[in-house]
Protein backbone atom coordinates (compact mmCIF):
# COMPACT_ATOMS: atom_id res chain seq x y z
CA UNK A 1 0.00 0.00 0.00
CA UNK A 2 2.82 2.35 0.96
CA UNK A 3 4.66 1.53 -2.24
CA UNK A 4 1.45 2.19 -4.19
CA UNK A 5 1.09 5.56 -2.52
CA UNK A 6 4.63 6.56 -3.42
CA UNK A 7 4.20 5.35 -7.00
CA UNK A 8 1.02 7.36 -7.32
CA UNK A 9 2.09 10.52 -5.58
CA UNK A 10 5.43 11.27 -7.20
CA UNK A 11 4.18 11.92 -10.75
CA UNK A 12 1.38 14.07 -9.35
CA UNK A 13 3.77 15.98 -7.12
CA UNK A 14 5.92 16.80 -10.12
CA UNK A 15 2.88 17.93 -12.06
CA UNK A 16 1.40 19.99 -9.26
CA UNK A 17 4.64 21.85 -8.71
CA UNK A 18 4.48 23.08 -12.30
CA UNK A 19 0.76 23.71 -12.08
CA UNK A 20 1.18 26.05 -9.10
CA UNK A 21 4.03 27.97 -10.69
CA UNK A 22 1.84 31.00 -11.62
CA UNK A 23 1.23 31.69 -7.95
CA UNK A 24 4.95 32.23 -7.46
CA UNK A 25 5.09 34.92 -10.09
CA UNK A 26 4.27 38.48 -9.20
CA UNK A 27 2.61 40.73 -11.72
CA UNK A 28 4.92 43.50 -12.87
CA UNK A 29 2.93 45.99 -10.74
CA UNK A 30 2.56 49.69 -11.61
CA UNK A 31 6.04 50.11 -12.98
CA UNK A 32 7.09 53.64 -13.73
CA UNK A 33 5.10 56.38 -15.45
CA UNK A 34 4.54 55.69 -19.13
CA UNK A 35 4.25 58.40 -21.74
CA UNK A 36 0.75 58.17 -23.16
CA UNK A 37 0.11 61.31 -25.19
CA UNK A 38 1.25 64.84 -25.81
CA UNK A 39 -0.58 67.77 -24.21
CA UNK A 40 -1.43 69.08 -27.65
CA UNK A 41 -3.36 65.86 -28.41
CA UNK A 42 -5.75 66.57 -25.57
CA UNK A 43 -7.98 69.64 -26.00
CA UNK A 44 -9.21 71.33 -22.87
CA UNK A 45 -12.89 70.51 -23.45
CA UNK A 46 -13.49 67.88 -20.74
CA UNK A 47 -14.31 65.21 -23.33
CA UNK A 48 -12.76 61.80 -22.53
CA UNK A 49 -10.51 60.34 -25.17
CA UNK A 50 -9.11 56.83 -25.31
CA UNK A 51 -5.34 56.33 -25.48
CA UNK A 52 -3.43 53.08 -25.71
CA UNK A 53 -0.80 52.39 -23.06
CA UNK A 54 2.30 50.99 -24.75
CA UNK A 55 5.01 49.14 -22.85
CA UNK A 56 7.06 45.94 -22.84
CA UNK A 57 5.11 42.79 -22.06
CA UNK A 58 6.43 39.48 -20.84
CA UNK A 59 4.26 36.43 -21.53
CA UNK A 60 5.88 33.20 -20.33
CA UNK A 61 8.65 32.57 -22.89
CA UNK A 62 8.08 35.68 -24.99
CA UNK A 63 9.01 39.30 -24.41
CA UNK A 64 7.16 41.76 -26.60
CA UNK A 65 8.69 45.24 -26.68
CA UNK A 66 6.37 48.22 -27.11
CA UNK A 67 2.97 46.61 -27.38
CA UNK A 68 -0.37 47.89 -26.05
CA UNK A 69 -0.86 46.57 -22.54
CA UNK A 70 -4.10 48.39 -21.87
CA UNK A 71 -5.95 51.62 -22.53
CA UNK A 72 -7.07 54.69 -20.57
CA UNK A 73 -9.40 57.61 -20.92
CA UNK A 74 -7.78 61.05 -20.57
CA UNK A 75 -9.86 64.12 -19.88
CA UNK A 76 -8.61 67.66 -19.59
CA UNK A 77 -10.55 70.47 -18.06
CA UNK A 78 -9.67 73.71 -16.24
CA UNK A 79 -5.98 72.92 -16.35
CA UNK A 80 -6.42 69.47 -14.76
CA UNK A 81 -5.92 66.14 -16.45
CA UNK A 82 -7.69 62.99 -15.22
CA UNK A 83 -6.91 59.43 -16.26
CA UNK A 84 -9.42 56.63 -15.89
CA UNK A 85 -8.84 52.93 -16.55
CA UNK A 86 -10.95 51.62 -19.45
CA UNK A 87 -11.66 48.29 -17.76
CA UNK A 88 -15.04 48.09 -16.03
CA UNK A 89 -14.74 47.34 -12.28
CA UNK A 90 -17.87 45.16 -12.55
CA UNK A 91 -16.60 42.17 -14.53
CA UNK A 92 -13.73 43.34 -16.71
CA UNK A 93 -15.12 44.53 -20.07
CA UNK A 94 -13.94 47.66 -21.89
CA UNK A 95 -16.07 50.70 -21.09
CA UNK A 96 -17.31 52.85 -23.98
CA UNK A 97 -17.64 56.61 -23.95
CA UNK A 98 -21.18 57.42 -25.05
CA UNK A 99 -21.16 61.04 -26.22
CA UNK A 100 -24.91 61.10 -26.85
CA UNK A 101 -25.46 60.28 -23.17
CA UNK A 102 -22.64 62.47 -21.90
CA UNK A 103 -21.37 59.58 -19.78
CA UNK A 104 -19.49 56.30 -19.89
CA UNK A 105 -21.39 53.09 -20.67
CA UNK A 106 -20.17 49.53 -20.33
CA UNK A 107 -21.74 47.44 -23.11
CA UNK A 108 -21.58 44.14 -21.23
CA UNK A 109 -23.93 44.68 -18.30
CA UNK A 110 -24.91 48.35 -18.69
CA UNK A 111 -22.86 49.90 -15.91
CA UNK A 112 -22.80 53.67 -16.37
CA UNK A 113 -20.37 56.24 -15.00
CA UNK A 114 -20.25 60.03 -14.98
CA UNK A 115 -17.40 61.72 -16.83
CA UNK A 116 -15.32 61.79 -13.64
CA UNK A 117 -15.71 58.01 -13.35
CA UNK A 118 -18.18 57.94 -10.46
CA UNK A 119 -21.33 55.82 -10.53
CA UNK A 120 -24.24 57.96 -11.66
CA UNK A 121 -27.09 55.43 -11.44
CA UNK A 122 -28.10 53.53 -8.28
CA UNK A 123 -29.11 50.58 -10.47
CA UNK A 124 -25.69 50.31 -12.05
CA UNK A 125 -24.24 46.84 -11.44
CA UNK A 126 -20.71 48.10 -10.89
CA UNK A 127 -19.57 47.84 -7.24
CA UNK A 128 -17.40 50.97 -7.53
CA UNK A 129 -16.62 53.82 -9.93
CA UNK A 130 -14.04 53.70 -12.69
CA UNK A 131 -10.46 53.35 -11.47
CA UNK A 132 -8.41 56.57 -11.58
CA UNK A 133 -4.72 56.48 -12.43
CA UNK A 134 -1.92 58.86 -11.46
CA UNK A 135 -1.14 61.50 -14.07
CA UNK A 136 2.05 63.49 -14.40
CA UNK A 137 2.75 66.24 -16.91
CA UNK A 138 6.37 66.67 -17.99
CA UNK A 139 6.74 69.50 -20.42
CA UNK A 140 4.44 68.75 -23.34
CA UNK A 141 4.04 65.06 -22.42
CA UNK A 142 1.39 63.34 -20.36
CA UNK A 143 2.67 60.41 -18.26
CA UNK A 144 0.40 57.87 -16.56
CA UNK A 145 1.32 55.29 -13.91
CA UNK A 146 -0.61 52.34 -15.32
CA UNK A 147 -1.83 49.49 -13.15
CA UNK A 148 -4.70 47.02 -13.13
CA UNK A 149 -7.28 46.58 -10.40
CA UNK A 150 -9.41 43.64 -9.38
CA UNK A 151 -12.91 43.46 -10.82
CA UNK A 152 -16.03 42.78 -8.81
CA UNK A 153 -14.94 44.28 -5.50
CA UNK A 154 -16.24 47.36 -3.72
CA UNK A 155 -12.75 48.36 -2.62
CA UNK A 156 -10.14 49.33 -5.16
CA UNK A 157 -7.50 46.61 -4.91
CA UNK A 158 -4.49 46.68 -7.23
CA UNK A 159 -3.91 43.42 -9.00
CA UNK A 160 -0.83 41.70 -7.59
Amino acid sequence: MAIGAVLGIIPFAGGLAVYFDPLRRKSSGPGGPIRVASLSALPEDGIPRKFAVVADRVDAWNKYPNVPIGAIYLRRREGKIEALHTVCPHAGCFIDYAPERGSFLCPCHNSTFALDGSINDPNSPSPRGMDPLEVEVRGNDIYVTFQNFRAGTHDRIPEA
Binding site: Y19, F20, P22, L23, R25, K26, S27, R57, D59, A60, W61, N62, A91, G92, C93, C108, R150, A151, G152, T153, E159, A160
Partner: protein, 256 residues
Protein backbone atom coordinates in the same frame (compact mmCIF):
# COMPACT_ATOMS: atom_id res chain seq x y z
CA UNK B 1 -20.34 -16.18 -40.97
CA UNK B 2 -21.63 -18.09 -37.96
CA UNK B 3 -18.24 -19.76 -37.69
CA UNK B 4 -16.50 -16.38 -37.49
CA UNK B 5 -18.86 -15.16 -34.80
CA UNK B 6 -18.50 -18.41 -32.88
CA UNK B 7 -14.73 -17.98 -32.98
CA UNK B 8 -14.90 -14.44 -31.67
CA UNK B 9 -17.49 -15.33 -29.04
CA UNK B 10 -15.32 -18.16 -27.83
CA UNK B 11 -12.39 -15.75 -27.32
CA UNK B 12 -14.28 -12.75 -25.93
CA UNK B 13 -17.69 -13.78 -24.67
CA UNK B 14 -19.18 -11.19 -26.99
CA UNK B 15 -22.54 -12.91 -27.35
CA UNK B 16 -23.35 -12.83 -23.66
CA UNK B 17 -22.19 -9.23 -23.43
CA UNK B 18 -24.44 -8.20 -26.30
CA UNK B 19 -27.34 -10.14 -24.78
CA UNK B 20 -26.98 -8.31 -21.50
CA UNK B 21 -26.54 -4.95 -23.12
CA UNK B 22 -29.41 -5.17 -25.54
CA UNK B 23 -32.08 -7.17 -23.80
CA UNK B 24 -32.55 -4.99 -20.75
CA UNK B 25 -36.14 -5.12 -19.62
CA UNK B 26 -38.00 -1.81 -19.72
CA UNK B 27 -40.99 -2.06 -17.36
CA UNK B 28 -44.00 -0.18 -18.63
CA UNK B 29 -42.70 -0.23 -22.19
CA UNK B 30 -40.35 1.99 -24.17
CA UNK B 31 -41.15 5.70 -23.77
CA UNK B 32 -40.12 8.87 -25.51
CA UNK B 33 -39.22 10.53 -22.26
CA UNK B 34 -36.33 8.07 -21.75
CA UNK B 35 -34.51 9.13 -24.90
CA UNK B 36 -32.65 12.14 -23.51
CA UNK B 37 -29.78 10.24 -21.92
CA UNK B 38 -29.11 8.51 -25.22
CA UNK B 39 -29.29 11.78 -27.15
CA UNK B 40 -26.74 13.21 -24.74
CA UNK B 41 -24.43 10.27 -25.33
CA UNK B 42 -24.90 10.75 -29.08
CA UNK B 43 -24.08 14.44 -28.78
CA UNK B 44 -20.98 13.55 -26.78
CA UNK B 45 -19.99 11.16 -29.57
CA UNK B 46 -20.33 13.99 -32.11
CA UNK B 47 -18.17 16.20 -29.92
CA UNK B 48 -15.45 13.58 -29.61
CA UNK B 49 -15.32 12.91 -33.33
CA UNK B 50 -15.51 16.56 -34.44
CA UNK B 51 -13.20 17.54 -31.60
CA UNK B 52 -10.49 15.10 -32.60
CA UNK B 53 -10.59 16.19 -36.23
CA UNK B 54 -10.49 19.84 -35.19
CA UNK B 55 -7.55 18.97 -32.94
CA UNK B 56 -5.65 17.89 -36.03
CA UNK B 57 -5.87 21.42 -37.41
CA UNK B 58 -5.92 23.63 -34.31
CA UNK B 59 -2.85 25.29 -32.81
CA UNK B 60 -3.16 26.10 -29.08
CA UNK B 61 -0.75 29.05 -28.87
CA UNK B 62 -1.68 32.68 -28.32
CA UNK B 63 0.11 33.69 -31.53
CA UNK B 64 -1.38 30.96 -33.70
CA UNK B 65 -4.76 29.96 -32.27
CA UNK B 66 -6.98 32.50 -34.00
CA UNK B 67 -5.23 32.03 -37.33
CA UNK B 68 -5.53 28.25 -37.13
CA UNK B 69 -9.26 28.55 -36.48
CA UNK B 70 -9.62 31.08 -39.29
CA UNK B 71 -7.86 28.62 -41.57
CA UNK B 72 -10.20 25.80 -40.56
CA UNK B 73 -13.24 28.01 -40.99
CA UNK B 74 -12.43 29.65 -44.33
CA UNK B 75 -9.66 27.74 -46.08
CA UNK B 76 -10.07 24.06 -45.29
CA UNK B 77 -12.58 21.95 -47.22
CA UNK B 78 -15.61 21.40 -44.99
CA UNK B 79 -13.85 23.22 -42.16
CA UNK B 80 -16.80 25.52 -41.52
CA UNK B 81 -19.08 22.49 -41.34
CA UNK B 82 -16.85 20.55 -38.92
CA UNK B 83 -16.43 23.52 -36.64
CA UNK B 84 -20.11 24.41 -36.94
CA UNK B 85 -21.09 20.89 -35.87
CA UNK B 86 -18.81 21.12 -32.86
CA UNK B 87 -20.17 24.51 -31.84
CA UNK B 88 -23.87 23.83 -32.30
CA UNK B 89 -23.74 20.35 -30.78
CA UNK B 90 -22.25 21.97 -27.68
CA UNK B 91 -25.26 24.28 -27.58
CA UNK B 92 -27.62 21.35 -28.14
CA UNK B 93 -26.03 19.43 -25.28
CA UNK B 94 -26.92 22.18 -22.86
CA UNK B 95 -30.58 21.95 -23.85
CA UNK B 96 -30.55 18.14 -23.82
CA UNK B 97 -29.06 17.95 -20.37
CA UNK B 98 -31.79 20.21 -19.06
CA UNK B 99 -34.42 17.90 -20.58
CA UNK B 100 -32.71 14.83 -19.17
CA UNK B 101 -32.53 16.38 -15.72
CA UNK B 102 -36.20 17.36 -15.91
CA UNK B 103 -37.23 13.82 -16.79
CA UNK B 104 -35.20 12.38 -13.92
CA UNK B 105 -36.75 14.78 -11.45
CA UNK B 106 -40.30 14.38 -12.74
CA UNK B 107 -40.08 10.59 -12.67
CA UNK B 108 -38.36 10.55 -9.27
CA UNK B 109 -35.41 8.60 -10.63
CA UNK B 110 -33.06 10.23 -8.11
CA UNK B 111 -34.66 8.50 -5.12
CA UNK B 112 -33.17 5.56 -3.20
CA UNK B 113 -31.36 3.42 -4.25
CA UNK B 114 -30.42 5.69 -7.17
CA UNK B 115 -28.90 8.61 -5.25
CA UNK B 116 -25.29 7.89 -6.18
CA UNK B 117 -26.25 7.71 -9.83
CA UNK B 118 -27.90 11.10 -9.48
CA UNK B 119 -24.69 12.50 -8.08
CA UNK B 120 -22.78 11.01 -11.00
CA UNK B 121 -25.26 12.81 -13.23
CA UNK B 122 -24.64 16.11 -11.44
CA UNK B 123 -20.89 15.70 -11.87
CA UNK B 124 -21.49 15.00 -15.56
CA UNK B 125 -23.51 18.22 -15.73
CA UNK B 126 -20.59 20.19 -14.30
CA UNK B 127 -18.15 18.48 -16.67
CA UNK B 128 -20.24 19.39 -19.71
CA UNK B 129 -20.45 23.01 -18.56
CA UNK B 130 -16.70 23.06 -17.88
CA UNK B 131 -16.08 21.73 -21.39
CA UNK B 132 -18.22 24.54 -22.77
CA UNK B 133 -16.33 27.15 -20.78
CA UNK B 134 -12.88 25.89 -21.71
CA UNK B 135 -13.79 25.35 -25.35
CA UNK B 136 -15.14 28.86 -25.75
CA UNK B 137 -11.73 30.43 -25.20
CA UNK B 138 -9.81 28.28 -27.66
CA UNK B 139 -10.40 30.28 -30.86
CA UNK B 140 -8.82 33.20 -28.96
CA UNK B 141 -11.31 35.53 -30.63
CA UNK B 142 -12.85 38.67 -29.15
CA UNK B 143 -15.97 36.95 -27.88
CA UNK B 144 -14.21 33.99 -26.30
CA UNK B 145 -11.42 36.09 -24.81
CA UNK B 146 -13.69 38.63 -23.13
CA UNK B 147 -16.31 36.09 -22.03
CA UNK B 148 -13.58 34.08 -20.32
CA UNK B 149 -12.11 37.21 -18.79
CA UNK B 150 -15.47 37.97 -17.20
CA UNK B 151 -15.83 34.36 -16.03
CA UNK B 152 -12.40 34.27 -14.37
CA UNK B 153 -13.02 37.68 -12.81
CA UNK B 154 -16.09 36.17 -11.21
CA UNK B 155 -13.98 33.26 -9.95
CA UNK B 156 -11.62 35.81 -8.43
CA UNK B 157 -14.35 37.15 -6.15
CA UNK B 158 -14.38 33.85 -4.22
CA UNK B 159 -13.42 34.70 -0.66
CA UNK B 160 -9.87 33.96 0.46
CA UNK B 161 -8.73 31.81 -2.44
CA UNK B 162 -10.30 33.83 -5.27
CA UNK B 163 -7.29 35.76 -6.62
CA UNK B 164 -5.01 32.73 -6.34
CA UNK B 165 -7.64 30.61 -8.02
CA UNK B 166 -7.81 33.09 -10.88
CA UNK B 167 -4.02 33.03 -11.23
CA UNK B 168 -4.05 29.23 -11.47
CA UNK B 169 -6.85 29.17 -14.03
CA UNK B 170 -5.31 31.93 -16.12
CA UNK B 171 -1.75 30.67 -15.72
CA UNK B 172 -0.41 33.96 -14.36
CA UNK B 173 -1.58 37.50 -13.74
CA UNK B 174 -2.34 38.24 -17.36
CA UNK B 175 -4.03 36.33 -20.10
CA UNK B 176 -1.42 34.84 -22.38
CA UNK B 177 0.31 31.70 -23.59
CA UNK B 178 -0.36 29.72 -20.46
CA UNK B 179 -4.05 30.53 -20.34
CA UNK B 180 -4.58 28.89 -23.68
CA UNK B 181 -2.39 25.91 -22.90
CA UNK B 182 -4.11 25.30 -19.57
CA UNK B 183 -7.59 25.60 -21.05
CA UNK B 184 -6.67 23.33 -23.93
CA UNK B 185 -5.21 20.66 -21.64
CA UNK B 186 -8.47 20.72 -19.72
CA UNK B 187 -10.70 20.79 -22.78
CA UNK B 188 -8.98 18.06 -24.82
CA UNK B 189 -7.41 16.00 -22.06
CA UNK B 190 -8.57 16.15 -18.47
CA UNK B 191 -12.29 16.83 -18.95
CA UNK B 192 -12.94 14.26 -21.72
CA UNK B 193 -11.17 11.60 -19.65
CA UNK B 194 -13.27 12.48 -16.62
CA UNK B 195 -16.45 12.52 -18.64
CA UNK B 196 -15.79 9.05 -20.01
CA UNK B 197 -15.04 7.70 -16.55
CA UNK B 198 -18.19 9.26 -15.06
CA UNK B 199 -20.34 8.20 -18.01
CA UNK B 200 -19.24 4.58 -17.66
CA UNK B 201 -20.15 4.75 -13.99
CA UNK B 202 -23.43 6.46 -14.76
CA UNK B 203 -24.48 3.80 -17.27
CA UNK B 204 -23.31 0.97 -15.01
CA UNK B 205 -25.32 2.29 -12.06
CA UNK B 206 -28.35 2.94 -14.22
CA UNK B 207 -28.30 -0.63 -15.57
CA UNK B 208 -27.74 -1.98 -12.07
CA UNK B 209 -30.92 -0.46 -10.68
CA UNK B 210 -32.98 -0.41 -13.85
CA UNK B 211 -35.12 2.36 -15.19
CA UNK B 212 -37.55 4.17 -12.90
CA UNK B 213 -40.84 3.75 -14.66
CA UNK B 214 -43.65 5.90 -13.37
CA UNK B 215 -46.66 3.86 -12.31
CA UNK B 216 -49.30 3.18 -13.55
CA UNK B 217 -47.59 1.43 -16.44
CA UNK B 218 -49.06 2.54 -19.71
CA UNK B 219 -47.95 -0.45 -21.75
CA UNK B 220 -46.63 -3.97 -21.25
CA UNK B 221 -42.92 -4.41 -20.56
CA UNK B 222 -40.65 -4.17 -23.56
CA UNK B 223 -37.01 -4.87 -24.31
CA UNK B 224 -34.42 -2.16 -24.77
CA UNK B 225 -33.67 -3.64 -28.19
CA UNK B 226 -35.42 -2.95 -30.46
CA UNK B 227 -38.19 -0.84 -28.94
CA UNK B 228 -36.38 1.74 -26.84
CA UNK B 229 -33.41 1.76 -29.20
CA UNK B 230 -35.72 2.74 -32.03
CA UNK B 231 -37.10 5.68 -30.05
CA UNK B 232 -33.57 6.67 -29.03
CA UNK B 233 -32.37 6.49 -32.62
CA UNK B 234 -35.25 8.60 -33.94
CA UNK B 235 -34.65 11.17 -31.21
CA UNK B 236 -30.94 11.31 -32.10
CA UNK B 237 -31.90 11.82 -35.72
CA UNK B 238 -34.15 14.70 -34.73
CA UNK B 239 -31.38 16.27 -32.62
CA UNK B 240 -28.94 15.91 -35.52
CA UNK B 241 -31.47 17.49 -37.87
CA UNK B 242 -31.83 20.49 -35.59
CA UNK B 243 -28.05 20.85 -35.27
CA UNK B 244 -27.60 20.57 -39.04
CA UNK B 245 -30.25 23.21 -39.56
CA UNK B 246 -28.30 25.68 -37.45
CA UNK B 247 -24.92 24.74 -38.91
CA UNK B 248 -26.11 25.25 -42.46
CA UNK B 249 -28.30 28.26 -41.76
CA UNK B 250 -25.48 30.17 -40.08
CA UNK B 251 -22.75 28.66 -42.24
CA UNK B 252 -20.90 27.39 -39.21
CA UNK B 253 -19.85 29.05 -35.97
CA UNK B 254 -18.88 32.71 -35.74
CA UNK B 255 -15.28 33.85 -35.41
CA UNK B 256 -15.03 37.37 -34.06
Amino acid sequence: MKQVIDWIDNRTGARKLTQEALYENVPGGARWRYVWGSTLTFALFIQFVTGIFLWMAYSPGSQTAWASVYYIQYEMAGGWFLRGLHHFTAQAMTVLLALHLMQVVIDGAYKAPREVNFWFGLVLLLLVLALSLTGYLLPWDQKGYWATKVATNIAAITPVIGPSLQKLIVGGSDYGHHTLTRFFALHAGVLPAMIIAMLVGHIYLFRKHGITAKKPYKKPDAAFWPDQVLKDAVACLAVLAVILFFVIRYRGAELS
